[in-house]
């Protein structure tokens, strides 16, 4: 008797998976298998699972084909490739070797420590049964029906969990202060920021469960999920998860037979960076201009509509069920003494493997970039790593052996922030990068206080001056002075951290700044005002390619004779530089 085989096909349908055509890949799998009667032919039961992001987005669409517990993963699957996978692998049992993931996928996955991301990419985020199958909502049940509120809080404090969104304040302590407020109405808010999207898309129930436990712990009956309307997929999956949890009685009245009632509501934020600031976020939920409030009073004392309010982000909440379920000690055994647990980052920039990664706190930057990231893209050396979004500091190559945790980042003048990690290489100009971040922050400043409103503007103007070769040495001093003012006098975190890229950049890349200011040169060859293109005569073969691609008609010369660039006509677009096959064009 032939043993019945089971075939499971898991298709990544996170944002990146979808963007690369994941939905089409899935439907073609379904169509081909059904239309051709393959299930009958091979006597196999095929099931399909839409899974969330598994991080290795640069090779999306990722497809797992599991036949009788034998799992292989295909990478960069296009709809046109599906047919071959079905006929050769599923029908004949021979995987298409060329299309399987390579070593980099393995090293990308194995060097991580996935606790919150673990289920992402494995379970169907649209199925509560999948989540229940991995002991989902057991932690909530335990907390709500068997633990007192202060016991829950104590456990969270013991775990050492710190807010994964901004300044890294102890989550348990935050809850404790909020719980101790006299007001009987309290609110708890989950902020789903851009880096949290894969969590919401890959394992939304963990966020809901964490929020539920948090609500119980502080004595709140109302939770809010603050998310940008534009994150359609995240919203869809969270909404579905809430509906499913309501059906099961995990959300609603008398949860787990206790007198605890809890409801979750969405609040749709809009495109505004400032909404990452807690008090601005609350203003936004209240339907106002998101201009931060002065603290004290702190949100835990007087928050949403004047009531004590806890705000944590989705990653923080995703950790809660694990801490309650597996224990505070288990959690604090991961990471370092002061920074426990893991941190999710979007690794991007000039590394080979970009994607979503989760690392134990304290992991050296080198291991992240060269281990998980697989090293630098196209062999250009690493110049700096920037962590924490636009207001994070720049960490130079010489400090790569430092571990990534709250303490070290703070020492480096950076922040953990929401969890962006961008790798820059020697082709990137530090001044130009800093200017880019300042441009962003200046645009996103809410305008309430002068140090940020005018300060970011002045910083941007000075940085622009530097990139255009109009700056004097004094301008650096002015920038430093301005940074100091903004750091201490700004009303909120945006202004206070806005100068981080500049200060860290100046500390570690002073020479690069001085080259711009004194010699009017951009060593990385990025700042167009400071570079000139010229042709090295003895290298030029006179192939005329540069002349053809030049949009400004600045290149002249006859065939097979050295060409010349007219500096006055050159618009410095770099087209010739890229086109030349003989490295005959010099960029200075």
């Amino acid at each position: 008797m032939i043993e019945q085989q089971t075939v499971t096909i898991k298709v990544c349908l996170g944002t990146a998976g979808r963007a690369s055509g994941g939905a089409d890949v899935l439907s073609i799998f379904q169509k081909l298998i059904q239309l051709n009667g393959i299930e009958a032919q091979i006597d196999k039961k095929c099931s399909y699972t839409k899974v969330g992001c598994r991080g290795f987005c640069s090779k999306d669409v990722l497809v797992d084909v599991i036949i009788n517990d034998q799992k292989v993963t295909y990478q960069s699957v296009k709809p046109t490739m599906v047919e071959k996978i079905v006929t050769e692998h599923i029908l004949k049992g021979e995987p298409v070797a060329d299309w399987l993931t390579k070593e980099d996928y393995e090293s990308f996955q194995t060097k991580q420590h996935k606790i919150v991301l673990g289920p992402c990419g494995e379970i169907d985020p649209e199925s509560i049964d999948d989540y229940l199958g991995m002991k989902g909502y057991r932690a909530a049940e335990k907390a709500i029906s068997k633990m007192r509120r202060d016991e829950v809080i104590k456990k969270v404090i013991q775990s050492g969990l710190r807010g994964r969104g901004g300044s890294g304040f102890s989550t348990g302590t935050k809850w404790e202060i909020c719980k101790s407020q006299a007001d009987s109405t309290k609110y708890i808010i989950c902020n789903v920021g851009e880096v949290n999207r894969p969590l919401a898309e890959g394992n939304p129930h963990a966020i809901i469960e964490g929020l539920l436990i948090g609500g119980y712990a502080i004595g709140s009956e109302k939770g809010f999920i603050y998310i940008r309307e534009r994150y359609h997929l995240s919203v869809e999956r969270l909404r579905l998860a809430i509906t499913q949890a309501k059906d099961k009685g995990f959300i609603g009245r008398n949860i787990f037979g206790t007198d605890f009632c809890f409801d979750i509501e969405f609040s749709f934020g809009t495109e505004a960076f400032i909404c990452g600031e807690e008090t601005a976020l609350m203003e936004s939920i209240e339907g106002k201009r998101a201009m931060p409030r002065v603290r004290p009073p702190f949100p835990v004392q007087k928050g949403l509509w004047g009531k004590p309010t806890v705000i944590n982000n989705a990653e923080t909440f995703s950790n809660i069920p694990l801490i309650i379920g597996k224990g505070a000690r288990w959690f604090s055994s991961i990471g370092t003494k002061e920074s426990t647990g893991t941190k999710v980052f979007t690794l991007s920039g000039k590394v080979k493997n970009v994607g979503l990664v989760e690392i134990p706190m304290g992991m050296p930057f080198r291991d992240i970039v060269y281990g998980i990231g697989g090293g630098m893209e196209s062999g250009v050396a690493l110049k700096a790593v920037q962590v924490g979004g636009p207001s994070g500091g720049l960490i130079p190559a010489s400090m790569l052996d430092m571990g990534l945790d709250y303490e070290n980042l703070s020492k480096l003048g950076s922040i953990v922030g929401s969890g962006g990690m961008v790798v820059f290489n020697e082709d990137d100009c530090i001044v130009s990068i800093t200017k880019f971040f300042m441009e962003f922050l200046q645009r996103e400043s809410c305008g309430k206080c002068p140090p940020c409103r005018i300060g970011t503007k002045r910083m941007l103007e000075l940085l622009t001056k530097i990139t255009e070769g109009r700056a004097e040495y004094n301008d650096l001093a002015t920038l430093e002075r301005l940074s100091g003012l903004m750091k201490t006098s700004s009303l909120c975190g945006l202004g206070r951290t806005a100068s981080n890229p500049f200060i860290t950049g100046l500390n570690h890349f002073r020479d690069e700044y001085l080259a711009h200011v004194r010699e009017k040169k951009c060593p990385a060859g990025v700042c167009t005002a400071l570079i000139t293109f010229s042709i090295v005569e003895d290298r030029c073969k006179g192939c005329t390619l540069c002349k053809k691609v030049c949009p400004a008609g600045a290149v002249s010369g006859e065939v097979k004779k050295p060409h010349r660039i007219d500096a006055a006509a050159c618009i410095k677009c770099g087209a010739c530089f890229k086109a030349c096959k003989f490295k005959a064009i010099k960029k200075q």
Binding site: K448, K457, R458, L462, L482, L485
Partner: protein
């Protein structure tokens, strides 16, 4: 209430090494003011909620800079308002504000009573250290009463709040964001409100001034005459600004009993009639279809004669007397007495129904 006040707890703290006891719930700014320590503040105003936006009132509390207008006094606080560290931060914030402000004090209506100018003076900021682009607005507001020069606006928010929280109108609000933030009426239309001018009163700079004040005289060239507004029965205290025997502006003192410095459009801006050439200064009697000047005796006789005739022909109730809220109580008393006793009717009323 009085009992509560007696019971109200005080906290002891130190401000610039002076030990003081302050009732709980006061801000550091208020506490400092009480002992004569001046802390500059641009967004703070006693009539509106605090926003802590301008960052000028920062002080050191136990070594950490905080805004004194929003921080409440606490036991054993060690407040320093004037350390070089704080003064530098303050100076630089003011410098930044000035870097986005037109340097036209010599022609600005607000010169001499501008809070920003005062700070520039006391911190000796001749030319801002931080210079760069400043906001340029081409559109000028076409309303009749209030000159709005938003290039001079420092976005302290006093006008927005006083309009919303005190006047309950909400004619203006912050719009846009970041460097482009601007206080304006909806859709940047011309201001169309009650024109009470509370915003003008609260504005620390020359961004909001009375349109009719412009060019009429400097603050220090005027003589102030305190009087009572004659428009209605509320009796707001007003201060006339007199130059060369002409009233060039009306204001009201914040400590005025009735109106706490607030006024309405008439009281604040409706003073033009006083020296208007069209103003009626003597009685006129219409003769042959034209109004001709007459003496008071002539006019009174004429009126009395007509009243008598009407009374004789139609009875006293054919006559109604309408007095003015702009008369004093005594005058109004006399008027109703006249209507009742001399004319013989109860038909008497006055116009205080604004």
């Amino acid at each position: 209430m009085s009992n509560d006040r007696e019971k109200q707890k005080t906290v002891r703290l130190r401000i610039n090494s002076q030990v003081i006891d302050v009732p709980e719930g006061r801000t550091i700014l208020e506490a400092a003011k009480e002992i004569g320590i001046y802390i500059p503040a641009l967004c703070n105003h006693p009539m509106i909620s605090q926003s802590g936006a301008c960052r000028v009132c920062i002080v050191e509390v136990n070594g950490t800079p905080v805004t004194s207008c929003t921080t409440l006094v606490e036991k054993d606080m060690e407040v320093i308002t004037n350390s070089p560290y704080i003064e530098d931060l303050r100076r630089d914030t003011i410098d930044l504000i000035l870097s986005d402000h037109p340097y036209d004090c010599m022609v600005c209506q607000k010169t001499g009573e501008c809070e920003l100018q005062e700070l520039a003076y006391s911190y000796n900021i001749r030319k801002p250290l931080f210079s760069g682009e400043r906001r340029i607005y081409d559109k000028k507001d076409g309303n009749r009463f209030i000159e709005r020069d938003m290039e001079k606006c420092i976005l302290c928010g006093r006008c927005v709040k006083i309009c919303d929280e005190v006047q309950g109108v909400g004619a203006i609000d912050f719009a846009y964001k970041g460097f482009g933030t601007k206080v304006c009426p909806p859709f940047e239309r011309d201001l169309d409100c009650e024109f009470c001018g509370q915003c003008v009163m609260a504005c620390p700079t020359g961004a909001l001034v009375g349109r009719d004040w412009i060019g009429k005289g400097r603050y220090w060239k005027i003589r102030e005459v305190d009087t009572t507004c004659s428009y209605c029965g509320v009796g707001c205290s007003i201060t006339l600004h007199v130059k060369n025997n002409e009233i060039i502006r009306v204001s009201s003192r914040p400590d005025s009993v009735v109106n706490k410095g607030l006024l309405c459009v008439k009281g604040r801006f409706g003073y033009g009639f006083i020296s208007s050439p069209d103003r009626l200064k003597q009685p006129l009697i219409r003769k042959d279809g034209r109004l001709k000047a007459a003496s008071w005796e002539e006019a009174l006789d004429f009126a009395a004669d007509k009243l008598k005739k009407i009374k004789e022909a139609h009875g006293p109730d054919a006559i109604t007397g309408l007095s003015s809220a702009r008369c004093t109580t005594e005058e109004n008393y006399l008027f109703q007495k006249f209507m009742r006793a001399a004319v013989g009717t109860n038909n008497v009323d006055h116009c205080a129904r604004l």
